[in-house]
């Protein structure tokens, strides 16, 4: 074979050198093209996220003095946040309520996504549209709708009264933490649903047949194959839902009572009536750090769990 090939070997070598050069050129061009395609996003992210974040960070180190700002930098705002129980209570409560809403949503939305991915074979798009239909209305409207449902003379109370199951309207339904959690869970459901659906949809159906073939019934198939393979979607959905809900202030303002206020409401106050922007900025930065911390803990936990489950 070698003897037969030798006359051609020169041209082969030449061709190879040529392709490797071309490949390098293409690779460099690829990077350039990637950067160009990312550019609009990078500009928007820079202007709307990075710059405000830097401004906020700087402002959080200022100090409000009367209607102006004091000279120099200080960590006074952060010291106050750490020392004043109101701030820590609100922050912890916000994290807990967002976690509760996120957990509730992921658990409720997972079966929906599962059904859509594995049992709907035709018109998936129609189903997706129907499921996401509530999210076509404004966020504010959805929150108001829950006031109508949960209110003193709302759908649930009047329904239960009509049925004779209760004598007086339940007043814990609205203006409570549970009202906030339920509303948040519904208002952000699509953000958890879509990534979970995509990760389930991607699972090769022959893997399910393989696990059945290897002796696993439906329940173990779910825990040993489907759940681990959909974990990226679950994690993405959890983050997409948890991060914005911690700082949400519309929902607690509209359906939460005095003891269901969240950190977002306090931040809004600082930028509004209280007029202490540096304090608001410090609170916002603290919240971001807290979310990051919880997020990292969640990631570590899920990685640990998946290793253990194997």
């Amino acid at each position: 074979m070698a003897v037969i090939q030798s006359p051609d070997s020169l041209t082969v070598m030449d061709g190879r050198r040529n392709t490797s050069f071309r490949r390098r050129l293409a690779a460099r061009f690829d990077t350039l093209r990637g950067v160009l395609m990312l550019l609009p996003t990078l500009v928007i992210l820079g202007v709307t996220v990075a710059v405000p974040f830097l401004l906020m960070s700087a402002m959080s180190l200022w100090e409000q003095v009367g209607f102006g700002y004091g000279d120099g930098w200080s960590l006074g705002n952060y010291a106050e946040i750490a020392g004043e129980p109101l701030y820590t209570t609100l922050l912890l409560r916000s994290l807990a309520m967002a976690m509760a809403a996120t957990l509730m949503t992921v658990v409720l939305v997972y079966p929906m996504a599962y059904f859509l991915a594995f049992h709907v074979h035709r018109n998936k798009l129609v189903w997706l549209i129907i499921i996401t239909l509530p999210f076509w209305t404004s966020y504010l409207l959805r929150v108001f709708a829950w006031r109508v449902v949960l209110g003193y003379e709302g759908v649930i109370n009047s329904g239960l009264l009509e049925l004779g199951l209760i004598d007086a309207p339940l007043d814990f339904l609205l203006y409570s933490r549970s009202a906030v959690i339920i509303t948040l869970a519904h208002a952000w459901a699509a953000f958890a649903l879509l990534p979970i659906y995509v990760s389930l949809e991607k699972i090769d159906k022959s893997l399910l047949e393989a696990s059945a073939d290897l002796g696993e019934g439906p329940v173990m198939r779910f825990f040993r194959v489907i759940l681990p393979l959909s974990m990226p979607g679950v994690i993405a959905g959890t983050f997409l839902m948890f991060i914005p809900t911690v700082g949400d202030y519309v929902t607690p303002a509209l359906v939460g009572g005095p003891d269901a206020q969240m950190i977002g409401n306090l931040i809004a106050l600082q930028f509004g009536t209280v007029n202490n922007w540096p304090m608001g900025a410090a609170l916002a930065i603290t919240m971001i750090l807290a979310i990051t911390l919880v997020g990292l803990m969640f990631l570590a936990l899920s990685r640990l769990l998946s290793r253990w489950a194997r």
Partner: protein
């Protein structure tokens, strides 16, 4: 054959998808320890038949028995069969060892015993030390072996293989064929292989079922299919074949006299092969069974005109037109046969063959 242990019995299996008839009346047995292949083009129903055995599809009619037990109400995860999937279906979130050991959980083995069995399997598939590899670090051939090990570790009564070599390149495929055959002999498990590659089916199998449009056309040994194809479809599917028309003229003891259309010559063939057929007849003959002569070897030789000659190295292929440019016949001869001179295209040549070479075909 009848006293052999039946491992899979398909009793009159039919499968319809809506109006489409995927399988019609499949009815045959597969014996213990056999390497059985189901051969057919895509859409012939062969994969559906395999999936019915595995339990992933329910038959519209008929029953599958595995080792004597009816499988009607048995879901896939409780059947004593394991499958090697076409795309191997390796679990992407598990490493090689965990993939191979996936089915062991049910057996409730201790950690040490589980590890021992996995190592044994890695040894068997010649991938020792690969246990910790991630599945996306494996080549196609390695994935195929892991899929095999994962199924064999459960010591199933039957191993079902759905086009297991289809995704591999030609050279690797030939190597895996040899390994698969050796593996089957080592483990002694009944293998049922689905393939569209007739060479693969011939090389690997003890018996082959040829399927076409949902029907099982013929079940025979590879040699039997080659030498005695029952129908034109089977004959055309396996190897290359010349098709001729002929008329039965009469019988002469154990031999029948048949006149070939086109050339006009009268040939003899064993009468028992005709199964009592008379009158017009479809005939087939393998290209390599025909001898080509530059001069008439005898009165029974068929005359024709050489149209083309293709040199292929070890063999030479001749295209010969019979009679008045009617039917053409391909002759495949070893290149040593041309010792007495290369015949010219356009010249008259004579064809002859042994009496047993001519095969009658049924209509279908």
């Amino acid at each position: 054959m009848s006293e052999r242990h039946v491992m899979i019995r398909l009793s009159n299996i039919s499968k319809r998808f809506g109006l489409f008839r995927a399988i019609e009346h499949a009815d045959f047995d597969i014996f213990r320890g056999e390497f059985f292949s189901i051969l057919g083009a895509s859409g012939s129903g062969k994969t559906t038949l395999l999936r019915i055995m595995a339990g992933f599809e329910a038959a519209s009619e008929g029953t599958v028995h595995i080792d004597g037990a009816p499988m009607d109400a048995v879901p896939p995860h409780q059947r004593p069969v394991n499958m090697v999937f076409q795309n191997y279906a390796i679990f992407p979130h598990l490493n090689v060892a965990d993939n191979i050991g996936f089915g062991l959980r049910k057996l409730g083995l201790g950690r040490a015993e589980r590890q021992r069995r996995i190592d044994e399997m890695l040894e068997l598939i010649a991938l020792p030390g690969y246990g910790a590899r991630r599945s996306d670090q494996l080549s196609g051939g390695q994935r195929q072996r892991v899929a095999l090990a994962r199924a064999l570790i459960l010591r199933p009564k039957v191993l079902l293989l759905d086009e297991p070599l289809g995704a591999l390149d030609k050279q690797l495929r030939a190597q895996m064929q040899t390994e698969l055959r050796a593996l089957q002999r080592t483990v002694g498990i009944t293998f049922v292989l689905v393939t569209h590659d007739q060479e693969e089916a011939m090389a690997l199998s003890d018996r082959v079922a040829v399927m076409d449009e949902g029907r099982v056309m013929q079940i025979d040994t590879p040699a039997g299919l080659y030498e005695r194809p029952g129908s034109r479809k089977v004959a055309g599917f396996i190897g290359s074949m010349n098709f001729l028309r002929g008329v039965v003229l009469g019988r002469d003891g154990a031999m029948a006299r048949v006149q070939i259309a086109g050339g006009g010559a009268v040939c003899r063939m064993p009468a028992d092969r005709l199964n009592g057929a008379h009158g017009d007849l479809d005939l087939a003959i393998r290209p390599e069974k025909i001898a080509l002569h530059a001069r008439a070897p005898g009165p029974d030789a068929l005359a024709g005109v050489l149209r083309d000659r293709v040199f292929l190295g070890e063999r030479v292929h001749y295209t010969v037109a019979l009679g008045d440019g009617g039917e053409t016949v391909i002759v495949s001869a070893p290149n040593t046969a041309e010792a007495d001179g290369v015949p010219q295209t356009g010249s008259t040549v004579w064809l002859s063959w042994p009496e047993t070479a001519l095969m009658p075909l049924s209509d279908t």
